[in-house]
């Protein structure tokens, strides 16, 4: 391990017996690992291509003009700023040199003794990457402001067009995928169209907007219990969302989606299609030169390390971790956080020369919100729907947000939106072409 003396080690005080732990990704998994290493005698480096941690569960509210990006993002430097053993690097990973034990950021080499890969997932189009241009997904802040622009511009264009067919197409919003993101987006767009924008237009009636949720499976929220799916479906229909179950998307272009339901083919004319159907892991498998599963995830050992590489750990949406029934763990924040905390504990133990029991996931429950004051919640020991579930959902999300300012501002934005039906961030920014 001669890399200890590497001169490119960087500014953290060099100590030949302090191991260097590099964490790739400042999401839920990476930050949870970094925080767990707070008092460990090691030099910790967190690398992310953004300077902020993003609270992805609320990203759909940025896309639907309810929140500002800054409300749900927090500088990574501030989160770990109090940890004397931790530094933060802004950079884009281009590869991993497993033999030389270095992370590559373009020309730069960041040496490690232990590596934690927590680079998350992005949306996937199942071999149809050409759909991305017309049906953007929702993973980054830029995705959210882009979708917000598309939604608001659709109403603006509908107001000015004199072509009735185009107007109907502009006022049709298609959300592909009935998981939590799709359900929450569909509910939020329905409320935006039917309530928040209703008074603002002269030529069109925003209430006439159609919001169509297309799901290939037999129910929405397929990862949750069937009763929750039923509740969510009813809540969506109450908001005026058309839910098309058992319906596959077979094509996407700038003017609509082709769909297949059973034997029949059909088409929905729409200029605003949002992709919430699939995710694929980040290119970690490629960097690590290991095989990946169908959605790009890397299989790991029971201690979340890479097979044959006890110094490399893969966690969160990038890892394929099997739960008790042999099913992969869901790609949700609590799973990533538990894995990050576990790897921190394991490294703490290993540096102290102690063993650690295998990782075990505890599923705390499922939550999804549908519109302004409805949600479904399943904590195993209790199941709720409606307003009470929505209050619980709101409290949980505010609690898990990082930073007092963000909690306060999100809480106030929701109170304000709840009281007035208005949305605070209805800005069309960026390119309008």
């Amino acid at each position: 391990m001669g890399t200890h003396a590497d001169s490119s080690r960087g500014p953290v005080d060099a100590d030949p017996v302090r191991p260097r732990i590099v964490i790739l990704g400042g999401g839920f998994g990476g930050l949870s690992a970094a925080k767990g290493l707070r008092r460990v005698p090691a030099d910790v480096t967190v690398i992310d291509r953004h300077n902020y941690h993003l609270f992805q569960p609320l990203l759909y509210q940025v896309a639907t003009a309810g929140l500002s990006p800054a409300d749900i993002a927090y500088p990574i430097r501030s989160i770990v700023g109090g940890q004397a053993n931790t530094r933060v690097l802004l950079g884009r990973v281009t590869g991993i040199d497993r033999e030389g034990r270095c992370v590559l950021l373009g020309d730069r080499r960041i040496p490690y003794d232990y590596l934690v890969v927590a680079t998350g997932a992005r949306h996937a189009y199942f071999g149809h990457d050409e759909w991305e241009a017309v049906a953007p997904g929702l993973k980054k802040i830029e995705d959210a402001t882009d979708i917000r622009r598309r939604i608001l511009l659709a109403f603006e264009r509908a107001e000015t067009t004199e072509d009735e067919t185009q107007r109907r197409r502009l006022l049709t919003f298609v959300i592909v995928g009935g998981g939590p993101t799709g359900v929450e987006l569909a509910g939020a767009i329905a409320e935006l169209a039917h309530r928040a924008l209703a008074a603002d237009f002269r030529s069109i009636n925003p209430r006439e907007a159609r919001i169509i949720l297309v799901e290939a499976g037999a129910r929405v929220l397929p990862a949750m219990k069937p009763t929750l799916s039923d509740n969510a479906l009813r809540a969506l229909e109450k908001l005026g969302v058309e839910v098309r179950l058992g319906t596959m998307v077979t094509g996407c272009d700038a003017e609509g989606v082709d769909i297949r339901h059973g034997e029949g083919d059909d088409r929905i004319a729409s200029e605003c299609i949002i992709w919430a159907a699939g995710v694929a892991a980040s290119p970690a498998a490629k960097w690590l030169e290991v095989p990946a599963d169908r959605v790009g995830r890397v299989a790991v050992e029971a201690d979340l390390s890479l097979p044959g590489r006890p110094e490399i750990f893969v966690i969160g949406d990038t890892a394929l971790v099997l739960g008790r029934e042999g099913k992969p763990l869901p790609g949700i924040a609590p799973a990533a956080k538990q894995q990050g905390a576990y790897v921190a504990k394991l490294l703490r133990n290993r540096i102290a020369g102690k063993p650690t029991a295998p990782f075990r996931y505890r599923h705390r429950g499922d939550l999804a919100t549908i519109g302004r004051k409805s949600a479904v919640v399943d904590f195993g020991w209790i199941r709720l729907k409606g307003t009470l579930a929505w209050l619980l959902w709101s409290a949980a999300h505010i609690y898990f947000l990082i930073g007092f300012r963000n909690r306060l501002f999100v809480a106030l934005s929701w109170l304000w939106a709840y009281a007035t039906f208005h949305r605070g961030a209805r800005l069309i920014t960026g390119s309008t072409s």
Copy 2:
């Protein structure tokens, strides 16, 4: 005036005796005109290329991570949504057909009986448009998030570079122009660097950042009284800003600015240059086929109408309006608002067959803020500096913001920043190239 019967008139109920008033621009001038026409028996159309009104006086706070774009922008539709005689069009003006009395939005023609041009100003590089790429100005939301990205990225890059010369260059910020925008930006960047970011970095000390304000004239805030300039200069120096008076910028590139002070030429190495030196009016003079002054403004009659065209009015930063001493009115929000209100009154009178006295500007006072709790205020009958001036400045800006939510959120952001020294919107978004 056969255009009355034009079929492209649009969705506002057609009434052959109701005049059509088209307002170009949803800034301070245009909105003030629109609001003044609230109860006038006319069909009013507000056209803007953005869907929001932007409170430009606080844009520098978005550029320095203190506020979010949505805090200082408000949908134009919501502002005039309660006016039954007013509609809003999102569109980019491409020309004006004075003979046909139509505004051109690409292929679309919007007929008018009265036209109010309030399209504002943009930054000007005095014949050096190539400087814009390296020295962006601050007029739009996208400018502000771009400058925010540049400032925050400079610190991130300084943290990772191992080249001492580059690090110094990255930590040098040059603001060109000592008017209110330049002074406010310089103060805010100094506070961001010396206070808000101070604890966040390991390799660099953000306190070592140099903030240099370059002004060609003999004092900062040249449009205000000399005592205010002196106070502002002292407040800037207290914050650690280097102020270079009597200094011209003779060149700008990606690695610095060339300057001339008296006979001597010099160069400041910097990768973050911000242009606050000059504005030029929008292309209204070109659309109207009339001559413009050196900064693109259109000369108007005493009633703000275009000479020989009593149905066309030009107001705000687009107009050259002379004050009592024969000097052009300043390009500030109160001047634009008073002109908008005046044109609304004039049109109200004209439709009722009554005359209107010439426009007369009332200067209410000058304000500029320097950093966290200092400002200079001159209302003529009272002059203030320091904390009390800052409180007045804050109260005035919150009062003039549109929308209760925006007022609340800006007030809370300021309270929070004041109490903690932190900034809430430290996000690097958009392209990082």
